[in-house]
């Protein structure tokens, strides 16, 4: 699944300097609201047909970035260009059309499904909303789709709570894909599933990608899955992307100390590989009160005076390998 073709791939979606700030709760009656810097200047290209894995710890802004890319929340500044169109500026009608081309698959399928709608109607609903074909077409499409996601036909006349977690996630995927989207953002889509079922859904996502030529933005905290499914990986820390490279390259030659620590912390299912794992000390900083300079400096074993004051540029250190660290060359 790891493609690194020499031809310049076609860009499907381009995020330009996205910034998203939320205002936090008031701390006192007359006090000012604090600003939370959820996404703090992220530029990212998504190529047609690729899977870009977006990893990071909770609170780093990866889900916010996913929603910004789908224009589900308005950025404070910056823009998202989808197939040449700036989605933050399109009018309502055009946006309605564009929306069927971008879909989102969430972590909790039961929360994403309507509890009072039959499975059949849930999968068919997007077709009704976007007025696709006549009723017979729609029915045929639903039947094709449930076969594609291997959902047994007798489940169509049931309600979401009567299905297992894996089946529910298949329904969500079927519903997301029925309008032939180009971009699918998977936000922790398989994290809540048991391993044996998780493997089935990961395989299904990979199959559907091949079949329909989909582009995935795969948001997760789980590096093992990301290695398996993505062609490129972006690592996020406190609202910024700190490293971006092809999957194998990133996992084998991580240049950012945070990426290194993240990889080292993943428990490997092999008792012989137990080692004194270089765990990083401390916890992610408070996004209300981001540290000066490099956001990682307080936990970084290589931090020096420069890291405490200067924000590192996100720069290229080798072909297709970007990193934001002052000492990347030394560590690479």
């Amino acid at each position: 699944m790891n493609k690194s073709s020499a031809v310049a791939p076609e860009i499907l979606m381009e995020a330009k300097d996205l910034v998203c700030h939320f205002s936090g709760p008031k701390t006192s009656f007359f006090g000012k609201r604090k600003i939370i810097h959820a996404v703090n200047g992220v530029s990212l290209d998504l190529y047609k047909g690729e899977t870009l894995g977006l990893v990071g710890e909770s609170g780093c802004g990866k889900s916010t970035l996913g929603q910004l890319i789908l224009n589900l929340i308005q950025p404070t500044s910056g823009s998202t260009v989808f197939l040449g169109q700036d989605v933050t500026k399109v009018d309502k009608l055009e946006w309605r059309r564009l929306r069927s081309e971008m879909q989102l698959v969430f972590q909790n399928p039961l929360g994403a499904l309507n509890p009072r709608l039959l499975i059949y109607k849930q999968i068919r609903e997007p077709l009704e909303i976007h007025n696709v074909g006549d009723p017979d077409d729609r029915h045929a499409k639903v039947m094709d789709m449930i076969e594609a996601v291997s959902l047994p036909e007798h489940l169509l006349e049931r309600y979401p709570h009567q299905l297992s977690g894996g089946q529910q996630q298949r329904v969500v995927i079927a519903r997301a894909l029925i309008n032939n989207p180009k971009l699918v953002v998977c936000d922790e889509s398989v994290s809540a599933l048991d391993v044996s079922v998780q493997a089935q859904v990961v395989n299904l996502l990979a199959d559907m990608q091949k079949k329909l030529g989909l582009t995935y933005l795969f948001i997760t905290h789980d590096l093992s899955i990301v290695r398996h499914i993505s062609s490129r990986i972006a690592v996020m820390y406190l609202g910024r992307i700190v490293e971006l490279a092809d999957s194998v390259e990133l996992l084998q030659n991580p240049a950012h100390p945070y990426t290194k620590a993240l990889i080292a912390a993943v428990p490997v299912p092999d008792p012989r590989a137990r080692s004194s794992r270089a765990t990083i000390r401390g916890e992610p900083p408070n996004p209300f009160d981001p540290p000066s300079g490099c956001a990682f400096h307080a936990r970084c074993p290589h931090a020096d005076a420069k890291c405490r004051t200067d924000l590192p540029d996100f720069r290229q250190i080798s072909d297709r390998h970007m990193v934001a660290c002052h000492h990347a060359e030394k560590l690479f």
């Binding site: 048991d194 044996s196 998780q198 905290h221 093992s224 490997v268 916890e283």
Partner: protein
């Protein structure tokens, strides 16, 4: 960290040891509107002093309920119908409620998955940790406070003095889990039951908590039951492993044996379906189908519908345990060959 993570070399010297906790034939039934459902079916477990037993299984396999049954913490609707739980020569199931109360949090500590739910939001962290010291150890307020500071320091919470007076909402997820652990080990228990202690945490914090548990285990000479769905955590932290599926233990082995040479087809399927950070595969080998819910539990092998090796023998009769070696057994009619 270094030594504690090393695998104890030879498990055979542990065998002679009498187990600290021995569960025999424990069954738990839940009363539901559709009638009683047996969610834990004749489970045997053994934990020796100073060892870590990893209890691994998918959701609904009964691993948490087993431990709640052991601690007699099942709420209304759930009840233990058979079995015995021997701890220090006494059957916990025959204890009175008062005796259990004296035991919980004292000789047996527990840590749960979500620290934010387990902590009392209107009491300070310090008060909650010192509570068990005051109750079980009869310490004075001042002595309990002093000991609590030591505990906070022991579990790696910086600035114990200020943290003592703070409330749970002022703690991050990782810090609350450390506080939960401090609470569980306050009375130096012989056994710590940790139910998915790291599942809600980020990987870097998970690594820190696993390291902490393994350090504490050594320092306090505790035994640990580690309940998890994550085989990576098992490989990292367990000495012995019991694999549960659909309310039953299907395989027991030392951690090296289990990963080197899984004997049950379910164990192998589970290992094969894991995406790995240390190697690339084209396609994950998923196990087809899903685990049955309790209402569909059968008497025969419950993995049969997902197993590629079943025969007529697998239906109707519960697969008995095949004792492969002193530390290993597997409940399968057609176990894999030892290699």
């Amino acid at each position: 960290m270094s030594d504690s993570l090393k695998i104890k070399s030879d498990p055979s010297d542990e065998i002679a040891q009498t187990p600290l906790l021995e569960v025999r034939g424990l069954s738990v039934v839940f009363d539901t509107p559709d009638g009683p459902q047996e969610v834990v079916d004749q489970v045997d477990l053994k934990v020796c002093a100073g060892r870590t037993l990893g209890l691994v299984g998918e959701s609904g396999s009964g691993k948490s309920v087993t431990c709640l049954g052991v601690m007699r913490l099942l709420d209304t609707g759930g009840r233990v119908t058979s079995g015995e739980v021997m701890f220090e020569g006494r059957d916990l199931l025959k204890n009175t409620e008062e005796e259990m109360e004296a035991l919980r949090g004292c000789k047996i500590g527990m840590v749960f998955q979500d620290p934010m739910v387990s902590l009392n939001p209107v009491r300070t962290i310090g008060w909650q940790i010192s509570e068990s010291l005051r109750l079980h150890r009869n310490l004075s307020k001042a002595a309990a406070k002093h000991r609590t500071m030591e505990l906070l320091d022991l579990v790696g919470i910086p600035e114990p003095k200020t943290r003592y007076a703070e409330y749970p909402h002022q703690f991050s997820g990782g810090m609350s889990q450390r506080a939960m652990i401090a609470m569980a080990i306050a009375c130096q228990p012989k056994l710590l039951i940790a139910d998915e202690p790291t599942t809600a945490l980020d990987v870097t914090i998970q690594a820190q908590i696993l390291e902490l548990l393994s350090d504490l285990k050594k320092e306090l000479d505790m035994a640990l039951i580690l309940i998890t769905h994550d085989l990576g955590v098992i490989a990292e932290a367990a000495d012995d492993v019991a694999v549960m599926y659909a309310g039953r233990v299907v395989e027991e082995a030392s951690v090296l044996d289990l990963f080197d040479n899984p004997l049950h087809h379910y164990t192998l399927g589970l290992l094969n379906s894991l995406p790995r950070i240390d190697r690339s595969v084209d396609r994950l080998n998923a196990i087809e189908g899903t685990a049955p819910p309790p209402q569909d539990f059968v008497e025969g092998c419950r993995f049969e519908s997902r197993c590629g090796h079943c025969s007529d023998h697998c239906y109707g009769v519960r697969p008995s345990f095949n004792q492969v070696s002193a530390t290993r057994r597997v409940a399968c009619m057609h176990p894999r060959e030892m290699t």
